[in-house]
């Protein structure tokens, strides 16, 4: 179907507007976010300096170091399974966090969005207040709640559920709790923004047609709030991959995540090229995952209404 010249003009104009509107964001991002990454890309191909920083000598060791590491004592290259463990651990943790924040975040967002309009702002407010406290402090507060003499153990002991205090800290469980806690608003807020616009009459129509609540949920609500689900998932999954404060404080430093591992290279590890290469690799992997996810999600969802 050919387009009329008028239509083509409309389309071009629409695209141009799209670009113009996005330019301020792009400029800011290029200067202070993406641009500096170019520096990192260059650094990933250089040689580590003696005491951190880099020397201007070309080398692919940084990239090779992602998958292979030189055995310290035999000088041969072996598959770095330490690295693989770290990658896998971070990946699974991020996935679990995303899924779990969705499971508890969706009902919460739904709840807030279905309050009377006058109350809605207050609930939204209530859910963000905990997040006005600093991250480090919040993580320590979780530590206090989960410790052997903390609230949770006290309650369990008093209720007789257990007779010895549980050691919940310094392991994957504590990290998981901490991450969910930290990333929850990033899931709830976009979900809320999407659900808030949802037309309840559609639900009425569904029930009129004898749909069960579950069917209504799955077939009417979910597809329409999909943009919110996508936004929330991205906002939780992606940053959680590079997280390291929470894993460090709650995991006791015995469980290294990708974020800690990269930070080590820029700190005591004194291997900036490896750190740079690792982050580039992470970036690429995430970008691919993102593109696949968005393309798949938009295949049946991204219609325009009206």
């Amino acid at each position: 179907m050919t387009q009329s010249p008028a239509e083509r003009l409309q389309i071009r104009r629409s695209a141009r507007n799209g670009w113009w509107l996005s330019t301020p964001a792009l400029v800011l991002l290029f200067v202070a976010a993406a641009g500096p990454l170019v520096i990192m890309l260059i650094y990933s191909f250089l040689t580590p300096g003696q005491y951190g920083n880099v020397v201007g000598v070309f080398s692919t060791d940084g990239w090779r170091g992602i998958i292979w590491s030189k055995d310290i004592f035999t000088d041969e290259y072996v598959l770095a399974d330490a690295h693989m463990t770290i990658f896998w651990r971070s990946l699974s943790l991020s996935m679990m966090t995303t899924i779990f924040t969705f499971i508890v975040g969706f009902p919460t967002a739904w709840f807030i969005a279905t309050r009377p309009p006058s109350q809605r702002a207050m609930w939204l407010f209530l859910i963000t207040i905990p997040f006005w406290t600093n991250l480090l402090i919040r993580t320590y507060a979780i530590n206090e709640v989960l410790r052997k003499e903390g609230l949770v153990n006290l309650v369990f002991l008093n209720l007789g559920i257990i007779d010895q205090p549980l050691e919940m800290l310094y392991g994957p469980f504590a990290i998981f709790v901490g991450m969910t806690y930290v990333y929850l608003p990033l899931m709830v807020l976009p979900l809320f923004a999407a659900i808030d616009r949802f037309d309840m009459k559609l639900l009425e129509a569904g029930y009129d047609l004898y749909a069960s609540r579950m069917q209504v949920l799955r077939r009417i609500i979910m597809p329409i709030v999909k943009p919110g689900i996508i936004a929330g998932s991205i906002l939780v999954f992606v940053p959680s991959l590079g997280a390291y404060v929470t894993p460090r404080v709650l995991g006791g430093g015995k469980q290294m995540m990708i974020g800690n591992f990269i930070e080590l290279q820029f700190g005591q590890g004194r291997n900036w090229p490896l750190g740079a290469a690792l982050s580039m690799a992470l970036l690429v992997v995430v970008m691919i995952a993102l593109l696949v996810y968005v393309r798949y999600a938009n295949k049946d969802g991204g219609k325009h209404h009206g």
């Binding site: 003696q50 951190g52 310290i72 004592f73 800290l169 006791g252 591992f261 820029f266 005591q268 004194r270």
Partner: protein, 341 residues
Amino acid sequence: MKRLLTATAFLMGTTGIAAAKGDLQLYNWGNYTSPELLEKFKAETGITVTVTDYDSNDTALAKVEAGGSGFDLVVPSANFVQIWVEKGLIDTLDLAKIPNHGNIAPEWKDVVWDMGRTHTVPWQWGTTGIAVNTAVYKGDVNTSAVFLDVPEELKGKINVVPEMNDVLSLALWYVGGEPCTEDTEMLKKARDALIAAKPDWISMDYGVTEKMSNNDWAASVNWNGSTMRVRLANPDVVYGYPKEGYPVWMDSVAVLKDAPNKDNAYAFLNFILVPENAAMISAFARYANGVAGSDAFMPEDMKTAPEVVVPEEFKAAGKFLPTCSPKAQEYYTAIWTELQK
């Protein structure tokens, strides 16, 4: 549009806040500078000191190396001083401007990493050892075996601070080697010892002062001053000096080459070499200082504390950590990464 203007106004306004405190910029470890000291300095000289915090030698080095930081003074650890000198980041001291230079205690004057103190002036020094809650473990605390061959009572209750240089040095001494060695035999033994012991550790984290005070941990590799604070909260805690060898560390103040307020910097260096002022620094963070004659002014509990005054029988085992060669550093990092997995 209005938002943009408001934002610009903010930016302009903040210039005022930052510039008003520009008299002397001290870049130091967090929670390591006595506010009273700074007030006294201001009362005597009229110079306002602004402290900016860092939490690791590497961060400090990276930031200053990048340039344009605006700091005047920095406080590196002993094994980093030579690195700063080599990179041309700190000045050779103009001793004429520091009349009190002679106050530096003789044992701290000719240190391997700054002979004759031509580049730095002592701030505080201490040791790294093992803090143990004797209510939980009654055996010998003066050995690295406490964390490398964990006794039954301490299994799952001992922490090891994630300080690569300190921990690896302790391990190397324990297996009979030397820190910064390139001897692969020794390195292998140290690595194996660490990895074998790790499952018995509860964590590798900071925060020993709180966590041992409230009994979350029963023992930890720790610095002496912090252990003293724990003991004051929990009298059962004892500080162990590993007899196989333990690190002595010292933080010293240096003047940055591109410091904007050099004269003020020298005034400060001179000021902290006065015995009473040095004692003030020590009283705050609970670590000893390197100025002769300051003992008279130290707080009572520090004069006799076993953490601060190293008992005779352990003195020989304490050594400064050298600056590792790049090869040795590579080994260190590789072992450390494996350990942290």
